[in-house]
Symmetry: C2
Subunit: 600 residues, 2 copies
Amino acid sequence: MLMKMSSLFVRTLREDPADAEVASHKLLVRAGYIRRAAPGIYTWLPLGLKVLAKVEQIVREEMDAIGAQEVHFPALLPKEPYEATGRWVEYGPNIFRLQDRKGADYLLAPTHEELFTLLVKDLYSSYKDLPLALYQIQTKYRDEARPRAGLIRGREFIMKDAYSFDVDDEGLERSYELQRQAYQRIFDRLGLEYVIVKAMSGAMGGSRSEEFLHPTAIGEDTFVRSPGGYAANVEAVTTPNPEPIPFDGLPPAEVLDTPDSPTIDTLVDAANRLHPRPDRPWTAADTLKNVVLALTHPDGRREVIAVGLPGDREVDLKRLQAALEPAEVEPATDDDLKGRPELVKGYIGPGVLGPNGAPRGDDGESPDGAMRYLLDPRVSPGTAWITGADLDGKHVFGLVAGRDFTADGTIEAAEVREGDPAPDGSGPLELARGIEIGHIFALGRKYAAALDLKVLDANGKAVTVTMGSYGIGITRALAALAEANADDKGLVWPMQVAPAHVHVLATGKDQAVFDTAARLAADLEAAGLEVLYDDRPKVSAGVKFADAELLGVPLSVVVGRGLADGVVEVRRRASGEREEIAPDAAVARVCELVDQALAG
Amino acid sequence: MLMKMSSLFVRTLREDPADAEVASHKLLVRAGYIRRAAPGIYTWLPLGLKVLAKVEQIVREEMDAIGAQEVHFPALLPKEPYEATGRWVEYGPNIFRLQDRKGADYLLAPTHEELFTLLVKDLYSSYKDLPLALYQIQTKYRDEARPRAGLIRGREFIMKDAYSFDVDDEGLERSYELQRQAYQRIFDRLGLEYVIVKAMSGAMGGSRSEEFLHPTAIGEDTFVRSPGGYAANVEAVTTPNPEPIPFDGLPPAEVLDTPDSPTIDTLVDAANRLHPRPDRPWTAADTLKNVVLALTHPDGRREVIAVGLPGDREVDLKRLQAALEPAEVEPATDDDLKGRPELVKGYIGPGVLGPNGAPRGDDGESPDGAMRYLLDPRVSPGTAWITGADLDGKHVFGLVAGRDFTADGTIEAAEVREGDPAPDGSGPLELARGIEIGHIFALGRKYAAALDLKVLDANGKAVTVTMGSYGIGITRALAALAEANADDKGLVWPMQVAPAHVHVLATGKDQAVFDTAARLAADLEAAGLEVLYDDRPKVSAGVKFADAELLGVPLSVVVGRGLADGVVEVRRRASGEREEIAPDAAVARVCELVDQALAG
C-alpha cells in the first residue's frame, strides 16, 4: 500500500523532546515513529509499527528455522506459579501487581518461565516428546525504578522469549547452542553489532548464561574484553585466585598507633610517616578496608554484613548486588550500626567480623551480633595487610589472611579496572559499554523442579526436565538499531528494517513533476517495493529534504528541477551519494540498489 | 514450514474440559488450539495462533483498504485521560486497576478512545488533516464479573479498535459508513453470519450505534428482528408511543376494597370477583404495577426510584440497566425502603411517587423523600389503570395517566416479547440470540470535547472534532467461527482461516506409505500450500482420523492401504466427501480444491 505523506499519520518535529537524552529516543520521537504515553510506555505510530513488524519477522523466521514453535501467553497472570518458584517475592517492587474484582493476586508478567514450564507439564509426559523449543513475541512489563532512554529501558516492551526443554544436560547444551547460533543470525541480519559476554544468571537461576551486548557509549551495561577473546559483563568478571603464600617466615602482626587515620589516604600517610618500611613506601594496595553493608532479603529480613577488600579498590555495588541476589544491598545506615559498639568507625578490622568476631554457638551458627564477613579473592591465604585494630587511632600491621583471621567466604565486590588480568589468562581487560539486546540462560532444573515438570525416560523412570530460556528485547533492539544508524540529520535505516525501501519526493510546483513522481511511486510499488511518496503540494523542497533525512528511508528518488533536463536524482541516505538518471531508468536502478542492500 | 504431528506442540484430548459449556470452548481446548491460564485468560498454542493470525490479517487488509492506518497503543495506561472523560469512575469494578511503584494509578485499557483522541490532538491541528482513521489490533482487558464460554467472554482478549476523526457531521457519517462496509466485507470473508442491529451507545456515549451480532443459540445478547427489516438488540428496542387518548368522558377514579391482593394475580382475581366490569374480565394488562429500584451512581450515591409498567410485563433488568447507565440498577432492599412508611408493600400507587408524592420545593426540585418515578411508554396520557391506593387492601380503579397522575419521564423498563410491534411499523418482532462480534459507534464530540481536541476550520475558527469508534472482537470472532463450524467430531474450519490448507495422513506401517505421504506433503508445500503432516510412526489409523477430524483442517489426503492399488484418498472435512486419486494427481487436485474454497 503506497504511503503518501499528505495523508500519512506522521508529524515530524524540529525540536528534541524535553525528556530525551539519547539519539534513538530523540529521533524516533522527532521522526514520528513513537510517542510517549507514560514514563517508559510508548505508542507506536504507523512508521514505527512497520519497522517493528520487520524486526519481529526476522526474529520469527530464525526461531522457526531452528524448529522453535510459536505460542502466545497472556500478560496478565495469577501469582501462584510465580509463588511456587519464589519469584513473586524475589521481584519485589520490580513487577506490576494487581488484584482482580475478587481480590485474587495477579501480575503483569516480566518473563514467562513458570507458565511455559506448566504448559509443557500439562501436555507432555515422555522423553520421546523432547527436545522441545517454544517461543512467543509478546508484550512484557517491568516496573523499572528509572525508566530511561526511550525504548531502551521501558516499562511496557516487546520481547521474544523462547524456552527449551530437554531430558538431559547434553540435550540442553545442544538446545542452548542452537539458540545461540540463531541469535547470531538474527543480529547479523539486523545489521546490529554485538558482543557475546559471560553473564550472571541472577534471579533467573541456572548454570550458564551469556548476554548479547550491542557496544555503544550510551549503553547502561559495562562489559570487559581481553585480547585473547574473553568477554563478560562486569558483574560476571571473576578475579583470578592468587596462589596461596606459605605462612613460614611471615613476621607476626603488631598493633601500632596511627592517630587520625580513619580513611585509606590518611592511613597510608600515617603508616609512611610513623612506621615506614625500608624497601618501599606503603600504598593503598597494602591496606585491607572493611565495608559494612545492609542486605534486604526477599522475605523482608535485614542483615548487616561486612566485606573486606584491598584499600585501592572501590566497592562496585552492581557487582556486589549481582553476587548477593536476590537480596538487595545498600551501604549500612546509622540505624544498622546501633548496638554494635565493637565497630569503631574508620578502624574496623577482621577482629570483630565474621568467625573472628563474637563467639559462635556449638553448632557453628553465628549468634545474634556476629555479622557475616566476606573477602575479595585478592585477600588470599598468606597475604599480609594493614587494617583496623578495632581501637580508635590504631591499626594492625602485617595481619596475615588465613593465619591471623578468616572469613565466611569470598565475594566479587571490588570494581573491575581497565588492565586487570582476564580470569582465563587471555590478557589485560578493556572496559566498554553496551546495550543488552539478548540474553540466553541454561536454566537447568530450577523451574522444572519447583513446578514438578517430569517426563518418563527410556527406562520408564520419571526425570526432571532441564530447561533453557532465551530472550531478545525486540523494542530495545529496534532502539539500538536506531542508535547505531543515525547522523545529525536523522535516522538512517538499514534496508532490512526500513519502514519503506524508497522515498519519492516531488519538489517544486510544476505539475509535470508531480505527475512524474506519482507515476514513479506507482511503478516502484508495482515492482514490489514499499514506497513512501511525498506528494504534499504546498511544502517546500527544503522541508521535504529535511523530513526525508529525518525519516531515514535508505533510498530517495527526487523529482524536481532536473526533470526539465530529463533526469531525476537517486540518493542514498547512508552515504549521501547522488546519481542523476532518466525517469524511465529509475525503477530498475532503485530495484537493483534495494536488492543489493537486502543481499548485502 | 511443514508442520509434522510428531513434533508439533499439540495434544488432543478425548474429554471435554470440565469448565467448558459451549462447543467452541470445548473443541478449541480439546484440539489443542488454546489452554486456560486463569479464569477468562487463555494461552494460544501453535495451531490456535495460526488461525488467529489469519483472522487478524483479514481484518488488517480491510482496514487498510479503507485508508485506516495501523498504530499500536500500550495496554498499561495512566488514569488521567480516563478521569477527564469520567470513565475512570464509570467503569467501576469492570476494569483492572493498579498502582506503579510510585503509587500512581494505572489501568489495563478496555478500549482506547481517550488515547486516540489525545494522540490526534498531539499531532494534528487543521481541518486539512481530516478525515483520519486509525486502528490497532491489540490486547485488551476487562475484569468481567462472570467470564464465560472460553474466548467469548474473556478478561484478556484481542480487539481491533478503530477511530475516525472528522470536522463535521457529514464527515462522521461517511467515516461511519466506510467502517460499516468494511465490517461487512470482513465478516463475509470470514464466512461468519451476522445481523446488524441497532444498539444503545451506553457508556461509550454518542448518537448512533450498531452491533454486528452472529446469530447463535449460545449467544448472550438477545436481539429482535421484524419481517420488514428492523433489527435491534433488546436493550435498544423502543416501544411505539401510543396516540394520546382524550380525557373527555373517562369516568372518575375510585378507591375500592381489594383485600389480600398484593400481587398482580391476586389483584386480577379480586377485581373480577368484587368489582367485575360488564363487557369483559379484568386482566393483568389493565393493572399498573410500580416497582421500586435502587440505583448506584458512579460517584457512589444511592438513589431509590420507582418504575411503573403494565402488570402483564416483567421488568427487564438489562434493558433498564442500559437505560440508566452509567448508574447500576438493582431491586431495592429493605434498607432502601426504611423510613418510607408511605410505601405500602403490594399496594404502592402513583399517589406517593414522583411529582404526585411528597410536595416539591418552589424550584421544582424533588425534596428529600420524593423519589423519581418513571413510566413505561405504554402508560400514556389517557390510559386508565387499576393500581395501588397506598392503603393496605385497597386499589384505585380507573386512574387516568396525565389526568390523575404524572411521572418524571418515561423509561424502557419492560421486557420485549415475541410478537411485539416493531417501532418502525415493520411488523411483529421475532426474538433471537447472538454473539456480539463487532460494534460501531458514531461517538460525536463527547471525547473530543472532554479532551479538547479541536482543529481550525477553513475560516480559521477552532472547532471540536467529531469521532467514531469501531471495534471487532478478534478472539471472540474466532470463537464464533469455531462455534459455527463444528460437528460432533470436531472443528470444521473454513479454508480462509484454517491453520493449514491440507492434512496429509500416513496410515498403517508400510514404509512405502510413509515415503509417499512425506513426498506428497513436501510437494503440496512446494505448491504453496500450508500442510500439516501426520507422520507419527506408531499411532493407529483410527487415532489419526479422529485427530484430523478434531483439528478440522478442510482437506485431508489419506495415504494408506489404497496405495498398493495406486490410489490415495482426498477427503473434505465439511461434507465428508471422499475421492480416490492417483498419488501423482493428488497435488493438482488439492490445489484446485483449495483455490475453489478460497475463491468461494
